[in-house]
Symmetry: C2
Subunit: 209 residues, 2 copies
DNA sequence: CCATGCACTATAACATGTTCTAGTATTGTG
DNA sequence: CACAATACTAGAACATGTTATAGTGCATGG
């Protein structure tokens, strides 16, 4: 990871709420993320090479860097897009399970299995997420917010309390740490599922609400 | 992170139990890790440049790579050495606290504060730990084992059960995830301490033993 | 319509992780 | 001690993330 960050003059605002920029720009941004995820799916983190992304997205390298100031930004933005989709799908679904904890376990299990169906893609996105430095903090927090949304939806909490959010945060930490362990072959899929279930059971208990 | 791994012919065995190699080799290995940690302390992950490490350790670049096949291996080995020291110190200490959970919270708090006293060093080691790929799985597991040891010592469990170990694992996940959040300025020191305390309280309850 | 500014392209240049090569030193073994 | 094997050194070479430069085209305000 050679030189430092890239303080450009004219900023491309991160999509916050509605999509910014001209239609052509939105299209370029989409093509870039499409290319990123396609390369990630085929060969993981190492296969996401900036020149390859630019080529596949049919933009110049400089344009790629104008939209995403680093490889990590790119991959975390990709993860955000994926999680947005997952969250939106969740919100249109009925989640099975007796208790809120059951439903959360169900959602975590289902999402984890979906991620595990594409190991390279997951490896690329999750490693970037964990590796992100301060310059990508905003993108990482976006993803964190999406995880919170998903958990809140799963548990049917419209407006979670501070305490709920603290618990969600812990579960998100455990989730991501286990995905990292899984992509680096230090944990099996069943290890991951067991640990997730255990942590939900323990963390959602002891909770007052 | 350019090319791929480095499959050398003659292996340098990872120190497992007793130190391997000739005295000169042990000395080189020590110099290399010293240089790594010094550079990390001064400028974090980015300041740990392989040429700089080799220079400071007074070995050739090729030798550096013979001892540690990548920058990540190097930094994770550094973290392992630091944690070994922490663990050994712990084992010679009396840990205050009424309950095992209290003592674990104490140890986590104290160790975390120590890490936070050297933000650059911590940033370098923890990011490498999280970024590690399959080729560094062994080193990462070493660190994981050290964390388990520390937690077991803190709680006074000579031979933890499978369940204990599962809990330790979850706490280690939360710990590392929060350190990552702290080094990327997404969490304050007090956020980290609060979350650690909360997770210990909740995870050590609900536990049968 | 024209001038100005800005986004984009192509491409080179640079920084740093990693690998390779040739030669030299060291170490272990008969 | 002599030899063979292994380890080390210096340095070049290569791969890929990142930055910089020069030119082109398009859109917008006058």
């Amino acid at each position: 990871m050679p030189p430092k960050a890239n303080p450009r003059s004219s900023e491309i605002p991160t999509p916050k709420g509605e999509e910014p920029g001209s239609p052509a720009q939105r299209d370029r941004r989409k093509r870039i993320i499409d290319a990123t995820l396609a390369l990630a799916a085929s060969g993981g983190y190492n296969a996401v090479q900036m020149r390859a992304v630019a080529d596949k997205a049919e933009v110049a390298l400089g344009t790629l860097y104008r939209y995403f100031p680093s490889k990590v930004h790119l991959l975390v933005a990709g993860l955000a897009r994926e999680f947005q989709q997952t969250r939106d799908k969740l919100e249109r679904t009925t989640i099975p399970g007796e208790t809120p904890a059951d439903r959360l376990v169900f959602v975590l299990g289902k999402t984890t299995r979906a991620l595990q169906r594409d190991p390279h893609l997951t490896e690329a996105m999750v490693r970037a997420f964990m590796f992100a430095d301060t310059t990508a903090a905003a993108e990482v927090e976006l993803v964190g917010g999406l995880m919170e949304d998903m958990f809140a939806t799963a548990m049917g909490k419209q407006e979670p309390t501070e305490h709920d959010r603290a618990i969600f945060h812990l579960i998100a930490d455990v989730w991501m740490a286990n995905l990292i362990a899984w992509v680096s072959r230090r944990a099996s899929a069943s290890d991951v599922h067991q640990r997730l279930e255990l942590s939900v059971r323990l963390l959602i208990n002891g909770t007052s609400s």
